[in-house]
């Protein structure tokens, strides 16, 4: 699949259709999960009453911001090793989307947490390993974009960005395990869908209720498609501008 799309022309052909389709599908699925999540399912008071409805955006965005950074690092790695231009285009396109979803995860999380945390929640963000590591992820996305913007040529930007993106990847596993590893330093609730690390034993009812899980997964699928659509859209425009540059360069060579 990837190797098939590695060819820019094929990518452009594929994405011309893929973008609108995944936009539509994603919107539908998100709408569905939100409709159910906000109006249908009963609130779970153990989880903060109606506030917990933020979950149906929070968890998908949380997973996505990690996934997108993994994508950024992966693309950077591919470009760094094989100098594959499309990989760089992808990396460049992923960054803003990833930053967006990181922000979304943070906002929804704060909404969710608002009640439980009360007034001093800003201190909690700073003192909380999970929240902090997500904040770090956000800074990494910003730093990546700032670095690219600061460098003169695309080559330079690509190389510098790739170095940074690959280093920063270490943060993703940290985010994932931050809850299970350092219960002491987080109020964030542990992974209940997929948990790695060593979660401390729970009693039965604390596993996630199936009707929540459904909406959550709908939302996750929808947001994944939406993110994919936006990334591909940015990639397309980037490819166009690069083609334009090349044309200009050729013209200048002629002149």
């Amino acid at each position: 699949m990837l190797s098939y799309l590695a060819n820019p022309l094929r990518f452009m052909r594929f994405s011309r259709l893929a973008v609108p389709i995944s936009f539509a599908l994603g919107a539908l699925m998100i709408g569905w999960s939100l409709y159910n999540g906000l109006f249908v399912v009963p609130p779970d008071d153990a989880q903060g009453g109606d506030l917990m409805r933020a979950m149906f955006t929070h968890v998908p965005s949380a997973w996505l911001c990690m996934g997108l950074y993994a994508g950024l690092a992966g693309a950077s790695f591919i470009w760094f090793i094989w100098r594959h231009e499309l990989a760089d285009v992808a990396a460049r396109a992923i960054a803003p989307i990833g930053a967006g979803y990181t922000a979304l995860c943070f906002i929804t999380g704060s909404i969710w947490g608002q009640k439980g945390w009360g007034a001093g929640w800003h201190n909690l963000i700073l003192g909380d390993s999970r929240l902090m590591s997500v904040l770090v992820l956000f800074f990494l996305f910003l730093g990546y974009m700032a670095l690219r913007a600061a460098l003169e040529t695309r080559q330079k930007a690509a190389r510098a960005g790739a170095i940074l993106a690959m280093i920063g990847f270490i943060n993703v596993p940290i985010i994932k395990v931050s809850v299970d590893m350092w219960q002491t330093t987080t109020i964030h609730q542990p992974s209940s869908v997929i948990s790695i690390g060593n979660p401390e034993p729970r009693d039965e009812d604390s596993g996630m209720n199936i009707i929540y899980l459904q909406q959550l997964l709908w939302g996750f699928g929808g947001h994944t498609l939406l993110a994919a659509a936006m990334v591909m859209m940015l990639m397309r425009s980037e490819v166009y501008t690069q083609q334009a540059d090349r044309a200009l360069a050729l013209k200048l060579e002629g002149a």
Binding site: M132, L140, N171
Partner: protein
């Protein structure tokens, strides 16, 4: 590279650190500043001071690492010394690593040595000293290594200062979390392991990254 080049890289960057003194500026300024300020800001209650001390030390480490290395790498770029280093292929990451370690030794390590002084001054309990010092030593090392990467990445950039802060801080945070915890909790806390781990990780990854970034800066 044979040891002797690295040795003389070390010697030269020692004299560099000593020459531009910037390394010493921050810790020194910081301590004089702290010593003057903390009592004013907080009043003399020892209990309170002993809790502010560590945070201030971490700040000093983070700052000196960022500012020192920015200056070093940018100077190398401007006066053409970087070009000379780059002639001998392959050496550059090693050289960068040594420069970083040297400047850590000059600007970061004094903080560690001063910990007991400050500590007693601020009334930190004695048994906390040793783990604290080790924590600062390792944490500072990580700061300098990642700070070096950030500085190298933005060496060729005009608006470097701001960028370095933006790039370095996220890289600092993990070591920071573990470091602070370790200084609090001592050796038998998991954070000791985590801090050691992230130190090793930085030692393994940062030099290569700096090398690549410096090659890029010279372009």
């Amino acid at each position: 590279m044979s040891p002797s080049p690295l040795l003389s890289a070390f010697r030269s960057s020692l004299s560099e650190a000593w020459a531009n003194g910037a390394g010493l500026l921050l810790p020194l300024g910081f301590f004089t500043g702290t010593a003057t300020l903390v009592p004013f800001a907080l009043g003399p209650e020892a209990e309170l001071l002993s809790r502010v001390g560590p945070g201030v030390l971490w700040l000093a480490l983070a700052l000196s690492s960022m500012v020192t290395l920015e200056r070093v790498f940018q100077a190398d770029l401007q006066d053409g010394a970087l070009d000379l280093w780059l002639q001998d292929i392959g050496s550059i990451s090693l050289v960068a690593a040594i420069k970083t370690l040297t400047h850590w030794l000059v600007s970061g390590f004094p903080l560690v040595l001063l910990t007991p002084l400050i500590g007693f001054g601020l009334g930190v309990p004695t048994e906390k000293m040793v783990p604290a010092m080790l924590g600062y030593a390792m944490g500072g090392l990580v700061f300098f290594l990642w700070g070096g990467v950030a500085a190298a990445l933005s060496a060729s950039v005009a608006r470097a200062g701001l960028l370095i802060a933006l790039l370095a801080l996220p890289l600092y945070v993990p070591a920071l979390i573990f470091g602070v915890q370790m200084v609090e909790a001592g050796f038998d806390s998991p954070s000791f392991l985590f801090l050691s781990a992230s130190t090793l990780f930085a030692l393994g990854v940062a030099p290569a990254a700096m090398g690549a970034a410096l090659r890029l800066a010279a372009e």
